[in-house]
Symmetry: none
Subunit: 207 residues, 4 copies
C-alpha cells in the first residue's frame, strides 16, 4: 500500500517534470498531452489518471514551482540579518534560481501568459506572493530607520518588475551577457531607488 502510493507519487512527479520540460520548450498551447505522455514515459491515459486535464497539469506545475521557489527565497532570507539585505536576498534568489533553471523562468515569465485567461489570476497571485515578501522586509527596514519611508508596495513591485524584465530579456535574447553581470549593474539601482545604502556584496559565496 505504501509502495503503491510511492509509485503513484513518482509517476505524478515524472509527469510534472515532463510537463515542465515540454511546456517551457514549446509553450503551453503548442504542447500536447501526447508530448507530455511521451516525455514522461507514460501513456496519454496514464496522464489523465493522474491529472484531470492539461490545464490542471499546468496549474500544478505553477504551484509546485512557486512553492519551491518561495522556500528557497525564505531560506536565503534567513541567512541575512539586515532588513534591506533580506529583501535583496529574495530578489537574488529568484534571479539565481531562474538563471539555473531556464525552464522555470520561461514558465513563469512567458508561457503562463499564453496559457489563457484562467492562468493570469493565478500568476498574479504568485507575483503578489513574492512582492509581499519583499515588501515585508522593506517595511521592516523603514520601521528600523534603515531606510527613508517610501511606498513599500510600489517599491517591492518595482524591484520585482525590474528583475522580471532583466530575466525576460536574458531569456529571449540569445545575447552573451550573463545574468550575474546584469545583476551586478542592477543592484546599486534598486538599493538607491529606495534610498538605501548600497551594501558591500553580502553572502555571495552561496552557490
Amino acid at each position: 500500500m505504501q509502495f503503491e502510493q510511492h509509485r503513484a507519487e513518482k509517476r505524478h512527479r515524472r509527469i510534472l517534470d515532463a510537463a515542465l520540460k515540454v511546456f517551457s520548450q514549446k509553450g503551453y498551447r503548442d504542447s500536447s498531452v501526447d508530448d507530455i505522455a511521451g516525455v514522461s514515459k507514460t501513456s496519454k491515459g496514464g496522464v489523465y489518471f493522474h491529472f484531470p486535464g492539461k490545464q490542471a497539469i499546468f496549474f500544478a506545475l505553477m504551484d509546485r514551482a512557486a512553492q519551491q521557489l518561495l522556500e528557497r527565497v525564505e531560506d536565503a532570507i534567513a541567512l541575512e540579518a539586515e532588513p534591506v539585505q533580506r529583501a535583496e536576498a529574495a530578489l537574488r534568489t529568484v534571479l539565481r534560481t531562474f538563471g539555473k533553471h531556464r525552464a522555470l523562468a520561461r514558465l513563469f515569465l512567458i508561457e503562463a501568459y499564453g496559457a489563457g485567461r484562467e492562468f493570469h489570476t493565478r500568476l498574479m497571485e504568485i507575483h503578489e506572493l513574492f512582492i509581499l515578501v519583499i515588501q515585508r522586509h522593506l517595511d521592516e527596514a523603514v520601521e528600523s530607520g534603515a531606510m527613508d519611508p517610501v511606498d513599500t508596495e510600489i517599491a517591492a513591485r518595482v524591484w520585482f518588475g525590474a528583475i522580471s524584465e532583466v530575466i525576460t530579456h536574458w531569456l529571449l535574447t540569445p545575447g552573451p551577457q550573463s545574468l550575474d553581470e546584469m545583476y551586478a549593474s542592477l543592484r546599486p539601482l534598486i538599493f538607491r531607488s529606495v534610498g538605501a545604502e548600497v551594501p558591500r556584496s553580502t553572502s555571495d559565496a552561496s552557490r
Copy 2:
C-alpha cells in the same frame, strides 16, 4: 482609383482595429479569424484578402501600435528640456497611453507573450526600441552631469521593467487603485534609482 485605394485602406484598418479588440479580449490563441472577421464586419475570406494569415495580422498590429506609441513618446519628449525629464516623459507617455488604451496594453504586455515563439523576437525588438529611447536620454543626462554615471542600459531596462510590472498588475487585477496614483508613488523611486533629483511635477497638465 483613388477611391478604390481608399476603400481598401479603410477595410485594412477596420480589420486591424477588430483584431486589436478581439486579441486583447480573448487572447491570441483563443481568438479565431472568424472572430476578427465578425467584428470587422467582413467575411473570413475578406480578412485573408487583406492579410496572409492570422499571424500576419498580429504582427501588423504590433508594428502599427509600436509605431504609434513611439510617435507619442517622441512628441512628449520634445516638450521637455532636461534629459532626465525627457527620459521620464517616455515612461509617463507609455503609462498614460496604456492607461487610456487597455487593449493596447494587453497586446504588448500579455498577449504578445502568449502568441508563441515567433512573436517573442519581435516583441523584444520593440521593448528594446523603447528602452533605447530611455537610455539615450539617460546617457545625455550623465554627459551633462545631471546624473551620476550608471550603467544606463540596465537603468533603462529597470525603468521599463518597473513600469511594465505596474501596468501589468493594473491590467490583471480588478483592484481600484488608479494607474496615476501608482505612478505618483513610482516616480520618486525611478529617479532615485539613477541618483537623479526628483523634479517637481513637470508639464503634467498635458492630458
Copy 3:
C-alpha cells in the same frame, strides 16, 4: 494485447477499403477525409489516428494494391512453362483482376494521375515493376530462341500500354463490350508484335 492489435489492424484495413471505394468513385481530389471516415464507419479523427493524412492513405492504398496485384501475377506466371506465355500470363492477370475490381482499375489507371505530382513518381515505379516482370520473361524467350531479338523493354512497355488503354477505355465507356472479348482480339496482336507464335488458349480455365 493480441486482440488489441487485431482490432487496430481491422480498422486500418477498413479505412483502406473505404478509401478505395471512395477514391475510385469520386476521384482523389473530390474525395474528402470525411467521406472516407463515413464509409469506414469511423470518425475523422479515427482516420487520422491510423494515417498521417489523406496523401498517406492513397499511397498506402497504391502500395497494398500493387503488392496484391503483383502476387497474383507471380502466381499466374508460375503456372506457365513457356516464357512468352509467362509474359502473357502477367498481362492476362492484370486484365482479369482489373476486370473483377473496377475500383482498383480506376485507382491505377485514372485517379493516380489526377492525385497530383507527388503520386506520379510512385505510379511510374509501379508501372515499371509490372513492365519489368513482362520484360524479364520476354528476355527469357529471346534467350531460348522462342522469339526474335527485339528491344524487350519497349516491347514490355507496348504490351503494358496496350492493355492500359484497353482497360481505361472499358472503364470510361459505358459500352457493352466485355473486357474478355476485347482481350481475345488483343492477344494475337501482342504476340505478333514481338514476332512470337500465337499460342492456343492456355490455362484459361483458371477463374
Copy 4:
C-alpha cells in the same frame, strides 16, 4: 468594331495560352484562376469575362489542342500514300508534337485525368477521335490486301495505348532516353502487331 473583336480574340487566346502553361505545370486542381490571370497579364475578372469558369477554360483548351493536333495529323497523313504508313503517320505526328510540346502532352495524358469526372468523357471522345483515324487507315490497308484482316479497332487502340504509355513514361521520368529513340524501337513492334511489313523509314525528313 473589327478591332474590338480582334482585341477580344487576342485576349481570349492569351488566356488559353496561359492556362495551358499553368495547368501543365501545376496540374488542373492546383492551378488557380488567379494563376491564369497572372500569367495572361489579365485580372481575375478579365478571365471571367472571357470564360464562364475554370472548367470551361480547360474544356476550351482541350478542344483547341485536340483540333490542332488532329489537323497536324491529317496533314501528315496526306503526305503518305500507303494506308499502313498513313496510319503510322498519325502515330508519329502525335509523338512528335507531344515531344515538342511537353505541356500539351501533360494536358492530354495526365492532367485531364485529374480534372474530374466531367473531363473523362471528353477525354475519351478525343482518344476515340485519334483511334478512329488510325483505324480508318488500317481498314483501308486490310481492304487493299496490304495487311491481314485483324480487329482494326483493337489494333488502333493498341497502337494508341502503346504510344501513350511511351510518352507518359517519357513525361514522368527524368531519364535521358529521347522520344525519337524510343519510337525507333517501337515502330517495328506496332507494324508486326498487325502483321504488316515494316517499311523503311518514310518521309522522315519532315521536321
